[in-house]
């Protein structure tokens, strides 16, 4: 289960940011920076998923040979 700890961490961080956004826990001054951080986490997670997907397809293709 620990194969992808960074992904899980990133996801947790992202969720924290979004939750705080929704509950108005940030100062307006912080908003832009937090939004930027959130976008970076989203990109990181999506990249990770894409990479994982490619790897899985490759492994499946090898198994079917």
């Amino acid at each position: 289960m620990n194969e992808n700890p960074k992904y899980e961490e990133a996801l947790a961080q992202l969720e924290t940011i979004v939750r705080k956004m929704e509950q108005n826990e940030y100062n307006i001054d912080e908003l832009a920076a937090q939004l930027k951080a959130a976008q970076q986490l989203i990109k990181f997670c999506k990249d990770k998923l894409t990479k994982t997907e490619e790897e899985l397809q490759k492994i499946n293709a090898e198994a079917n040979l």
Binding site: V18, L49, L56, A63
Partner: protein, 409 residues
């Protein structure tokens, strides 16, 4: 009375009297108390016993001349399966002969073997009745030939063709079965059969745990005297023997009593061997069948597992990719909440600012001026109390549409 006869003269008178009074042939039933062949002739001793006391009540010698004997003997043996011998009941056709030198004798001109056959059958019935009365007639048939019967004790004549056939048949079986055959030699014809076979059974009994089954075999050779197999003592021994006994004593007439009490009877030694091979073949077939079924079951199990694995394998790509897809969806969902949250936050702030600006507008002095109020200033500051002013001060009054400068009096 000085006249007397010589013995010969007197005997001749007897002969004459007999030939005159007994000119015919007669069928007579009697028991043989002696019977022997000599120079192709057969010499017998006929006897009649008292039915109850068993003591002889009549006795006479009888002869069967070669010419007749050559015809009647084979017929008798073929019909009864037995040699003419002492103790037998016979029905013979005789005529009387008194020879002055050799004395009285019945001369046999024919023998009816069916009478002897009937008598033998009666005796056999008597033996069977006795065996049943003793409760041992069916004992052997309650035994079972063991599943793996391989150690065979054989009672047979040492050099009998039948025994050779039996051994060859066992050795040459098509299935590579190995039998262990031990021969217990015995006399298999004539009057010694009974004691000889009983002795052999006793020898086997001493090593009974070394054997699975007993075969009593006789075959080949002349059609011989089988009467030895029809005795009470032998039947009792066979019936009560603890191992199953197979008989192959080869004769096509009625069963012998030995056959009746044995566990299994077959016609020939070869058939006995075939039976033993079949017995092992049955277990071989059961084993083959079992191993076939095991391998079928295993194969079935393996192939069902293969199908299971294959179907799971085919699911893996879908499942793993779906997991990735789910995660992607989750990220998107979370990501989508961001602009909404930010938008709402900014909107709130805007509203706040707006309401603040409205509140602020209420404080604009121009609004008061336009309603006709005016503000008095001195040195640029609003005058709220006349005490702030003294005569001669210059004040400025702000109106909606302009300013007035005045001097206080």
């Amino acid at each position: 009375m000085s006249e007397h006869y010589t013995l010969r003269q007197l005997n001749l008178l007897v002969r004459e009297a007999i030939e005159e009074t007994l000119p015919d042939e007669y069928w007579v039933e009697a028991e043989l108390s002696e019977c022997r062949e000599n120079s192709g002739h057969c010499y017998m001793e006929l006897i009649e016993k008292d039915e109850h006391s068993n003591t002889p009540v009549a006795r006479a010698s009888a002869k069967c001349w070669r010419q007749t004997w050559q015809m009647t003997k084979p017929y008798f043996e073929r019909t009864t399966g037995q040699l003419l011998r002492a103790g037998m009941k016979v029905l013979v056709k005789v005529y009387a002969q008194f020879h002055e030198a050799y004395g009285f004798s019945w001369i046999i001109s024919d023998i009816d073997p069916t009478y002897t056959l009937g008598d033998m059958a009666r005796k056999r019935q008597e033996i069977i009745r006795q065996l049943k009365e003793e409760g041992i007639f069916d004992l052997q048939r309650e035994l079972r030939i063991p599943t793996f019967a391989k150690r065979i004790a054989v009672i047979s004549a040492q050099n009998a063709a039948g025994y050779g056939d039996f051994c060859r048949q066992l050795e040459d079986n098509d299935y590579s079965f190995r039998f262990e055959v031990t021969l217990f030699p015995a006399v298999m014809q004539g009057e010694q059969v009974e004691q000889s076979v009983i002795n052999a059974l006793n020898s086997i009994y001493e090593r009974i745990h070394d054997y699975d089954v007993v075969c009593i075999l006789r075959g080949g050779g002349a059609t011989a005297d089988l009467s030895g197999f029809d005795t009470l003592a032998l039947a009792e021994n066979v019936a009560q023997f603890p191992l199953p006994i197979i008989t192959g004593i080869g004769h096509d007439r009625d069963e012998s009593i030995l056959d009746m009490v044995a566990n299994t009877k077959v016609k020939t030694p070869t058939a006995a061997a075939a039976l033993l091979i079949d017995n092992l073949l049955r277990i071989l077939e059961r084993l083959d069948d079992a191993s076939q079924r095991i391998s079928n079951a295993v194969n079935q199990r393996i192939s069902s597992q293969k199908i299971k694995i294959a179907s799971m394998t085919s699911l893996i790509p879908t499942l793993t990719l779906r997991m990735v897809g789910d995660q992607r969806h989750r990220i998107d969902t979370i990501g989508n909440r961001l602009p909404i949250a930010i938008e709402r936050r900014l909107t709130n702030q805007k509203h706040l600012l707006e309401s603040l600006s409205i509140k602020l507008q209420g404080f604009d002095p121009q609004l008061l001026l336009s309603r006709g109020y005016s503000i008095t200033l001195k040195d640029g500051r609003a005058v709220r109390d006349p005490k702030q002013l003294k005569p001669g001060d210059e004040i400025e009054t702000r109106l909606e549409k302009g300013n007035i400068t005045s001097i206080v009096k």
